[in-house]
Structure formats: structure tokens, C-alpha cells
Amino acid sequence: MDRVIRIICVGNRYSGDDNAGPLVHDQLAGMPLPAGVELVDGGLAGLNLLRFVDGAERVVFIDSVTYIQPGVVVLAGQDIAALKPSDYDHAGGLSYLLGVLPEVCDGQVPEVLIVGVAGDVDQEKLAAAAHTSIALAVEGAAGVRDCVPCDSPGGQV
């Protein structure tokens, strides 16, 4: 049986600078998703999202980011590996999850990609993030093409 692909939207919809993930989730929830792709409203579950990562073939996280310019950025491969994990707090946080993932994941570690929304959220960005996440879910890192590394001007979607 094929392993599942998940799009996990994280953030706090009550916090204006951290609500991109939940708002993209709302858009994706109204769109048809490709077969084999599941959508998860990850909220602030942080490390507790581990059970949604276990057993997946690929996971695309969507979250708010700070970046040198507003837009939608994609992190993959070495960009994610180079992120400095934060200390653990009760929520664990996405960075902590990514830091311990190779050690604590049940089964094969999935491919991980991050779609980041930088700057003030608007409908254009939310739509771009939603469509980017679907493309990445289907194609994986191969679908990144113009997006990484994130400090490259080409990193803007």
C-alpha cells in the first residue's frame, strides 16, 4: 500500500503574525486534493504532530515565516537541515520536531518540505501557498525547482 502524503498547516489563527498556516488550511479544505494527499490542521501541536509524520511518504508543512521580503518561500533539503532547532517547550514547536525527527520517527523518515508565508497575509499569498503546497505534495522536492534555497531571489514563489 502506498504511504500517505500529508499537508500539515501549523500556526495560531488568533495571532496575526502566525496565522498563515490555519488560513491556508481553510483554503485547502475547500479545494479538491490529489488522491493520496491528506490535509491536517496542525495548529500549535508542535512535537505532537509527530504521529502525522510517522508512516508518511512526504510531509509538506505550511507556516508563517519571517523573511527578507514578503512572499511565499519554500524550504527543502539542506535548508531545513540547517534550521537551528529551538529549545523544547510544552508545544515542542515545529523546529524541535524537525530536529528530532530522524531519531523518533517510526519507520522510514518521510521527505519534508516547508511552505512559508512571509509578511502580511493576503489572499494572493494564501492562494499561492495553497497551490504550492499541492504541487510539492504531488511532486516532492522535484517540484521545488525555482524555490530553494530560501535566501536566493529565486526562492520567491
Partner: protein, 523 residues
Amino acid sequence: MSTTPTIAAPVTHTATTTLNIPLNRVEGDLQIRVEVRDGHVTDAWSSGTMYRGIENVLRGRGALDGLVITPRVCGICNTAHLMAAAKALDALGQVTPPPDAIRVRNLTLMSEHIQSDVRQAILMFMADFANPAYRELPLYEEAVARYAPLKGRSVIEAIRHTKHMLEIVAILGGQWPHSSYMVPGGIASAPCLEDLQQCRHLLRGYRVWYERQILGCTLDRWHAVRSLADLDAWLDECDTHRNSDLGFFIRFAQLIGLDSVGRGHANFLSFGQLDLPAETDVRGFGDDTARLVPAGFARGTQVTEFDQANVAEHIAHSWFEGYEGGKHPFHGVTRPYASGGEGQKYTWAKAPRYDGLPAETGPLAEFVIARHPLFTSMVESDGPNAFARELVRLVRPAALIKPMERWLNEVTPDGTFYTRPKRIEQGQACGLTSATRGALGHWVRIADGKIEQYQIITPTAWNGSPRDSDDVRGPWEEALVGTPVKDPDNPVEVGHVVRSFDPCLVCTVHSIRGPNRHTARIL
């Protein structure tokens, strides 16, 4: 516990130094400011730097909306908030949930507790044992091997095993976090036989791991530890005990004199939690007949009956306006006021008081109020301290697992899980329970079917409160006074004291800070 107080080996500072410490490894945003003189903390201020305001979000909404919105107060204690919201609505609807609904509610809350207790101890508290401040200690290398963030072997094992506990909430409550499956009168769906079997399997697996790695003994062997002498004997009994995470915690705590710091006011508060259903084999701690964990207030170990009418919140030193003195939460006001009061107001946390007194809450408070012999004797002999608080947190799952097993076996899939409440149009009530970190209360007033007033007092509001209208420090502010600070650039001792309360401020922002070549930071 015999100690060699290596914590208490401060360098001498003749001048007063002020340290502002943004404390990591806590939930939300917490800043501690301490004054240090002659190598000891002489005063402390605790500042919660994020505004919550959920109370104001709730006003004017439908009577039941608290069931959906208040679990969003915290991504970790969300089942506790759901429980508090549901209990308030039970009271407003004049209904008692059926026994099986009470069992299921309890099971989900207990799953949160036993997961969070172990994670806090291993990932948040004992991470400080791997602090370079202790590199000269004989147990340091072993502490690093066990508790270094992201890679310590106990850290990895704790994550691997605790991650399964919340599946019990998801199975019984439909989702975790932010489940809303509790409703006034019971729960929204009945678990089937397979659900219950799966929960038993998950709990069994957790128990086996907890006994092997955390305790190093069976639950029954641990429950035989009833005094400080028993604790010493348990530790000396075998290498399995000494090398478990509990055994290592005790040995390291002895080396650094953890029982010599963090005394505080020695006032304890429990709202009580985990109502006992009718016809259960589970007995309440301290023979309480209403709940597994009794309610009460204690000065030292002198326990008195709890009455929620004695709760009041002060805002003299908080970034709020609208009243002087204390207000009972039914009459509370949450009006943010971030300007003005310069030098006097320093936190978004209000200052809850019980009968006018600050009180710490959490597992130690619950065990003292339940008159647990070990922890009562510890408080009687040395007062509360960082060692006692963290020890009880590490062993609380041992007290909860067996009641969980019994309740899982008592639930009948074809049972009754809902009793229709009366229509909720008018009235006021409170829902009192305990989150993992201590007493949690929701005070609600309904008018014309809408929420007219909603006040939430969280455990960290109690523990991390600022000074009140009489300028009396909050619990961990007081507990910090006298703490030795050996190195002002690395005040690990301050962290021990504050973390022993398991701080949990508002869930707001999580962050990834990118490496040098990146500027990405995930909020």
C-alpha cells in the same frame, strides 16, 4: 534526602546586580528579572509578555461556544480547558453526566497529564542537568548522554513513547489537540469496543515503558515508598532503581542540593479533579469520596476546605485596568492597559489569590492536600522546594495509570454517555478542574443564551503571578528569593526554581531561527 549543596557555592558580589532572563523551554513567553546581591537572589519579578484576551473573545457568543474556543487557550492543556468549560455548562444545565461519560472525560485528561509530566521532567527540567555549569560533577557526562536537547537517549525515548499517549484522547475525543467532544451532560460520541481495546493497548505499552525506564520498578514497588527513609532505601535497593531516570534524578538532585532552593510561600491550592463516577473501584487520593484528586487549600501541610468564593484576582501590577484590590472571577474585568503604571505594572498575568494569599498549585500541591505521606513529610521537614516539586511530577503518572486502567475496564461500550441538560439561557457557574500544571477554573455567566462574562484562571496565573495589591510576591517570585546564583551569565539555579513549577504561559508563538545564511524564521 541528604545533600551536598553545590548549588549554594556562590561567588561573592558586593553590589546588587539585576538580571533579565528570558526563560526558554517554557510555554509562551516568560521573562524573569532578579536582583542578585552577594551571590543570592534578593528580589524577583515574573513577566508574562503575551496578552491572551480569550475572555473578551467569548463575550457575546453562544452559551456553548466555550467548548470550542477555550481549548484553544493552550495547545497542550486543551483537554483541561474543555473539561473546565464542560463542567461549568454541566452546572448551568443542571445535569450530572452519566458515570461512563465521566470515566471517558477523566481518561482523556489523565492521558494529557501522564504524557506532559514525563516530557516536562525529561525534556524541560532535566535538560538543565546537562548545563555546562555542572561539567565538574561526576554525573555530568551521564546527564549529557541522557538529557542533552534533541539527542539525549532519555529524551529520544521519552518522545518515542509519550507520543502515543495522546492517541487515547484522539480515539475517545475524536481529535487532539483542541477536541470539543465533551458537552454539557456528557460526551458527544460513545466509544466502541475496539476503541477501548486500542486505548488499553496504548496504556499498557506506556506503563511497561514507564516502569522500565522512568521508575526502574513496578508501580506497586514505587507505591511502597511512603517516607523519606523509604525513598533512601528504594534508591539503594538495586542498580535498576539508581539507573532509572527517577533514580538518576534523585542522585543528581542530591549532588546539586536541589532541595535547598525554591521554597516559596508554602501555600498550596487544588481545585480537585477527576470526579469519581458512581459504582467505581477507584478510590480517591486521601480517601476523597468525590474526586480522585481532592480539592483544598493548605498552609504548609495544614489543609482546609476549598471554597471557590475565596478566589480573587488582583491587577495592581498587571497590564490591566478597571479596579483596585481583588475581584472574584464572576465579577472580573479583563481590560488591557499596557501604558501607564510605569515601573509598577510588569506582566500580562493577573495575580490570583485565595483568601487573600498567594498559593502554588500543581502536582505537589495536590499530593500535599491529598496528604500523601512522602510528600507531606518532605514539606513538613524542609518546606516546598524544587526537588519535591519535580519529584512528584516525575512519579505522578504512577498514581494515575492504575485508575486509568480500572476506568478503561469499567466503561461499557453499550453504556450511557449523555444526559440531556436543561436549556442554558441564564445563570452563572464555574467549572473547576486541574490542568497538568495545576488548578484551572472557568467562571461563566450566561444571559439570554449568550456569554455575558467569562473569566479563566490558569495554573500559571497562580504560580507565575506578579505581586498583588498588597505588594506580596507571586509564588515563584517568592520561591526565587534566596536562590544562589553562582554565575550571573549562566543562572541555571534560577531556571531550576522556575521550571520546578512547570511554567506554561499562553500559547502564542513558536519559532525557528534560521542559520547564518538564512533569514527565515518560522513564527
